[in-house]
Symmetry: C2
Subunit: 436 residues, 2 copies
């Protein structure tokens, strides 16, 4: 903290997810001083979080400590802390209570990058959260794992056939990639992994319902992929309930309403939420400071170059924003890793350009590398630059890409070992009931 | 549950640790019906738990689901449930609340094997537990990991030198294998793993104190091994505080008293407890039913054949018992995996012999396969059948034996991968701050 360091251009990045971390890394040779603030000490590879929730991987296998990732990047400092808000006029990030038990004030920036991500949304029905956990954090994944495994244990103990049926009924709400992947994995657990595990009941009697309000799963995917994904789900034993709304979620039941039909209650002890996304509350904090109005999902719309309207020194990227197309609309980028990573790199490039004296730069442009979702063993769908394929080839591509993008050689090898052995043995080694 | 099954000899085993699980597995070809009751759904490989607590391994890598281990053993049933007590007269195990939310009564046995293990003891100072967590469960390990990592984060944020020093002072209480291994690993984290991770403080300024009431560490080990272990600890940066008692543990401090000296308070934010062991409360429940008096650690003394005095149909094994030598003393077996495993197999053998009509059998005899403890990178001590060695060879032996004894091929390979890479990179990939 000597006098020489104060002169460097200070960049504060809020959030160590795909967007924030890629911005920090892309600044590694820039003449700046970067501070990365996150309330967690690790980067989480969210695309594989559902594998933790279903007992195939351990949390430590899809997460990497931020300090470890950045330890050789001498211009980067990691700060473990909660961001409470912003003072855009004074160019300050306001911090909450810190790890040492003190409330340690604020961080001054020259350039701010906010990439605080998103959580789940229950569309105003926050009381459902208790009965239908979503999947965003490591803790969420362990809670979902606990619930799925407890349901089978309870079914084994239960004598009453109706109650047993409720324990063996799993309802996943939301037909996007997370919902499809969760439902497919639960069906595989019931029909494959646990096949020989119980003595008093047959786990393959389980029902796995995938509830989706729209008329198909993976609706963002192109061409025949949604239909193929649906068929693959059915083959695995999942029952897709399309054009169906969730009307209520309570203790031991969920009420569904098919389009035009009466609401019908369904007894189930396990409801999982993969339906709605809401931007981090920091999006709203930023919007209020800048005099903007967030959209219904709490996202703010940023300029085509990812800056906050009226604040060229502030970038906002990732799942908490929509990027304007410069013509009154937005880019409609999906809430997955690739747009976030590319936005992070783009923003780092803009910062470097500005320091080189370039005031104006190209707007952000997204290079779509394709969509993929895995459904189960040898079953996946992929759309890579218009090349659409499914089945075992898509599945192998999915495995390869996900191992490639995992952070850390140790995690890559460990996940590879787990997947090879899980394929051979149909085992899921990490199905522990912990916490709770 | 057909009529044919009721006729089989019913064995109930309480506890899926080393003792209970090895009894169940050794009964796989016996004409019995075994029910294994555990409140956790997995077997935990406790000898590596300290590696979870220090961010080298994930919980799922040292645990295996009991149902998975026993799925091919058709005469074994796993019951997830809490045992509340015993009715030895009626030959019943009394169960508490079960996974399906009901209190499902009792289990009738012909032979009972109780192997409920041990927890920590604070020698009557239970208020210390909050400030000085022990290491027995997966949850304990994650809490210790959280505390160690938070301490470094807090030190990085802390401006006040005295408070920073308190955050960088780690006190491990107890110089047995767990305490030695924990202290050694914390020193390695401070001096190796985190070397380049911080910008505002130097983690190698940490102090790691190993407090032991006796005059040497690993006092149960023979010959010069304790002295060698102590030297290895010092080389790693651990300060052994021998002949030193813990007088008090409070918020932010621990009070130590060297033999004959005045109690002196020491500021520290991290105290870890590896000192005392107390038998499971089920030992007391069993003792009360059988009219026995447990020892100070809550253990009951069983007959030389591991039966409960007066109850030849009840075996008690593992860390919750002392095995009588038949001459008024006890065997003095250490609380590690090998005696527990051998007792489990022995008891299974006795059950088979009885069913074959052999009323009397040989008493349990322990085959000492040796002691080992690892201190750090290329540093360990071993005493295998009187062959005492230390250093890199002992360390490699330790690694090999522990991978060999881990349950599950998947976990073995994963741990192997992690260890090889951790050795090369000095990295600890699973140092996540979760929960709390």
């Amino acid at each position: 903290m000597g006098a020489d360091r104060v002169t460097a251009h200070r960049v504060v990045v809020v959030g160590g997810g795909f967007a924030g971390l890629s911005a920090v890394r892309a600044l590694r040779r820039a003449p700046v001083e970067v501070t990365l603030v996150d309330r967690r000490n690790f980067h989480l590879f969210q695309p594989l979080l559902y594998q933790v929730a279903t007992g195939a991987l351990s949390p430590g296998e899809i997460a990497s400590p931020l300090r470890g990732i950045l330890k050789r990047q001498r211009n980067a400092t990691v700060l473990l802390g909660e961001v409470e808000g912003f003072d855009l006029g004074a160019r300050k990030v306001l911090l909450g209570r810190q790890a040492n038990g003190r409330s340690s004030g604020e961080l001054t920036y020259d350039t701010l990058v906010v990439a605080a991500g998103a959580g789940h949304s229950y569309f105003g029905n926050d009381a459902w959260a208790r009965h239908a956990p979503g999947l965003k954090t490591v803790e969420d994944a362990l809670e979902i794992r606990r619930r799925i495994l407890i349901a089978f244990e309870a079914a084994e103990l239960e004598q009453d056939p109706e109650r047993r049926r409720a324990w063996l009924t799993f309802v996943v709400v939301g037909g996007g990639p997370t919902g499809v992947e969760l439902a497919g994995q639960i069906a595989e657990i019931a029909r494959g992994t646990l096949r020989h595990d119980f003595r008093h009941m047959d786990p393959s009697e389980s029902r796995v319902l995938l509830v989706e309000a729209g008329d198909r799963v993976l609706s963002a995917y192109a061409g025949r992929l949604p239909a193929k994904a649906e068929r693959a789900l059915v083959r695995l034993g999942v029952t897709p309930r399309l054009s169906t709304m969730v009307v209520d979620v309570g203790e031991g039941s969920v009420t569904l309403s098919e389009q035009g039909g009466e609401p019908a209650p369904l007894r189930t002890e396990t409801v999982l939420w993969a339906a709605g996304v809401a931007a981090s509350p920091l999006a709203r904090a930023l919007a209020e400071e800048a005099g903007l109005e967030p959209d219904r999902a709490g996202r703010i719309t940023v300029e085509p170059d990812c800056t906050l309207p009226g604040h060229p020194e502030v970038f906002a990227i990732g799942d908490m924003v929509r990027v304007s197309d410069g013509a009154g609309g937005d880019r409609g980028l999906p809430g997955v890793a690739q747009p976030a990573i590319q936005e992070g790199r783009y923003v780092a490039g803009r910062i470097r350009e500005r320091l080189d004296g370039q005031a104006e730069g190209e707007p952000f442009s997204y290079r779509d590398k394709g969509d993929m979702a895995t459904i189960g063993r040898k079953a996946a769908v992929a759309d890579i630059k218009g090349m659409r394929f499914s089945g075992a080839l898509a599945w192998l591509t999915w495995l390869f890409v996900h191992i490639l993008f995992l952070v850390g050689l140790q995690n890559r090898l460990v996940v590879f070992v787990r997947w090879v052995l899980a394929f051979v043995t149909r085992g899921r080694a990490t199905r522990l009931i912990t916490g709770g």
